[in-house]
């Protein structure tokens, strides 16, 4: 409970500083916003160890590539979403769109083995 309150307080403080800096020094405001987001992400990630252990346990039980593929796509989605939001904060809509597009393409590439397995199953039956 105290962790989320600390994170919320840090986020509010960072947001207030960004607003103060935005008019005079927009570059520093963007850097503060990006660094604050990264710091919050690192702080949260440090507390995600039990969840990561649970994912590893699931990967161990789930035979085949479906579980590992899904976990990788989740990682790609989180990274791409974070990068796109950061670009939008900096006013770079095109970069945000490019990052999201790249993220989706990488997610599709990760899902390609599953598509191949499905296609192989269909083709093996047809043959």
């Amino acid at each position: 409970m105290t962790d989320i309150l600390r994170i919320a307080a840090a986020a509010l403080a960072g947001g207030a500083l960004c607003l103060l800096l935005k008019r005079e020094q927009p570059v520093f405001a963007f850097l503060l916003s990006a660094c604050g987001a990264i710091a919050l992400f690192v702080a949260v990630a440090a507390r995600l160890e039990p969840l990561l252990d649970f994912f590893r346990l699931l990967s161990g039980y789930g035979q085949g590539q479906a579980v590992s593929c899904l976990i990788q796509v989740v990682g790609i989605a989180l990274a791409a979403q974070f990068a796109a939001d950061t670009c939008r904060d900096a006013g770079m809509q095109a970069a945000a769109t490019g990052v999201e597009l790249g993220g989706r393409a990488l997610a599709l590439v990760q899902a390609l083995p599953l598509l191949q397995t499905l296609a192989d199953t269909f083709l093996s039956f047809l043959q």
């Binding site: 899904l70 989740v74 199953t121």
Partner: protein, 342 residues
């Protein structure tokens, strides 16, 4: 040409399935060894067999549950709607791959069970027919060796060559319907499964009618023949004719006892072959029903669609097994009940 006609023709017999070939070198179980069985040993053996049989469905249940939970967690972590849709697509792809491979194995097992049962019948029917003839049920033996065996062979071949490929098509179509996401395609898959179910019911009713009628007619003919034979024997042989007719009835009764034992052995053997696969179908159906509830509860509509359609598919697999076993059981039970000479 005469010389060529004298040469022996090479006749190649159909090879035994591996499971039958593995059993033949072993000698049969001795009756004396049954005296050493204890209740705890039997229960332990049953528990081992149950664990072996139920292992794959329970393993699949664990995998499906964990996968759906993971997909739900992934959906919670990614808040953006486009990414939710992307994750949903990958989740349904993974769940489809997981489920489809399991269902293809189940379909193969159903086919193997039907094939092994037909191999067993190929050895059983001549023996049973001979016992029937010995007990005075000549027409019944002819019908059993002729119509019933032909129908069972036809059904086994139809299961292997027609029904199981159709089932595989249905499973592939179901996964494609869920991936596509169109409600109309899902309705088409449901209609397909309903039509298959009606077809199995219709075939079951038709076989029951034909085999039942055949048994009735042959039973009447055999009963009349046995009564006539007894009467003719009593009338033709002076003094001891009645005693000879009574002895004949006694001998026929002893053969009927053997007939009943053989029929029980058939039902028991086929039941032992069918029951594990049937139980697997039931467990898979329960697993898909539970997974469908979890998928619906966690908002994974496409995975829930796969669960519903593949659950219907497992019911169809169970229907195939019931159709075959019911036909064999019905024919044999009717033969037991008819043609007892009275």
């Amino acid at each position: 040409m005469l010389f060529a006609a004298c040469l022996p023709v090479r006749a190649a017999a159909v090879e035994l399935p591996p499971s039958a070939a593995a059993l033949l070198p072993d000698g049969g179980a001795a009756a004396e060894s049954a005296g050493g069985w204890t209740l705890s040993a039997l229960l332990g053996w049953l528990a081992d067999k149950a664990a072996q049989g139920m292992g794959p469905p329970l393993r699949f249940a664990g995998q499906a549950l964990l996968y759906l939970l993971l997909a739900a967690l992934a959906g919670i972590l990614c808040t953006s709607l486009p990414w939710k849709k992307c994750l949903d697509a990958v989740a349904v792809l993974g769940f489809g791959v997981l489920s489809l491979s399991t269902m293809m194995e189940l379909v193969t097992q159903v086919g193997q069970t039907a094939q092994e049962s037909q191999t067993y019948l190929a050895a059983f029917v001549p023996v049973f027919g001979a016992v029937l003839s010995l007990g005075g049920q000549v027409s019944g033996a002819a019908g059993y060796s002729g119509l019933f065996f032909s129908v069972s062979a036809f059904l086994s071949a139809a299961i292997e060559r027609l029904i199981l490929p159709v089932m595989r098509i249905y499973f592939c179509f179901s996964v494609s319907a869920a991936l596509w996401g169109d409600a109309g395609v899902e309705e088409a898959a449901k209609l397909f499964s309903r039509c298959l179910g009606w077809l199995f019911k219709g075939c079951g009713a038709l076989f029951a009618f034909v085999l039942g009628l055949q048994n009735l007619l042959t039973g009447l003919a055999d009963n009349a023949a046995v009564r006539m034979g007894g009467t003719a024997l009593a009338g033709a042989i002076p003094l001891v004719g009645d005693a000879a007719a009574a002895a004949l009835s006694g001998a026929a009764a002893a053969v009927h006892l053997l007939k009943g034992t053989l029929a029980l052995a058939l039902v028991g053997s086929l039941g032992a072959a069918f029951l594990p696969v049937f139980a697997r179908c039931v467990v898979y159906y329960l697993v898909f029903s539970g997974a469908g509830i979890i998928a619906a509860g966690t908002g994974q509509e496409h995975c829930g669609r796969i669960c519903r359609l593949l659950g219907d598919g497992t019911r169809l697999c169970a229907s195939v097994l019931i159709l075959y076993f019911f036909m064999v059981f019905l024919s044999t039970a009717l033969l037991l009940m008819t043609g007892n000479g009275g």
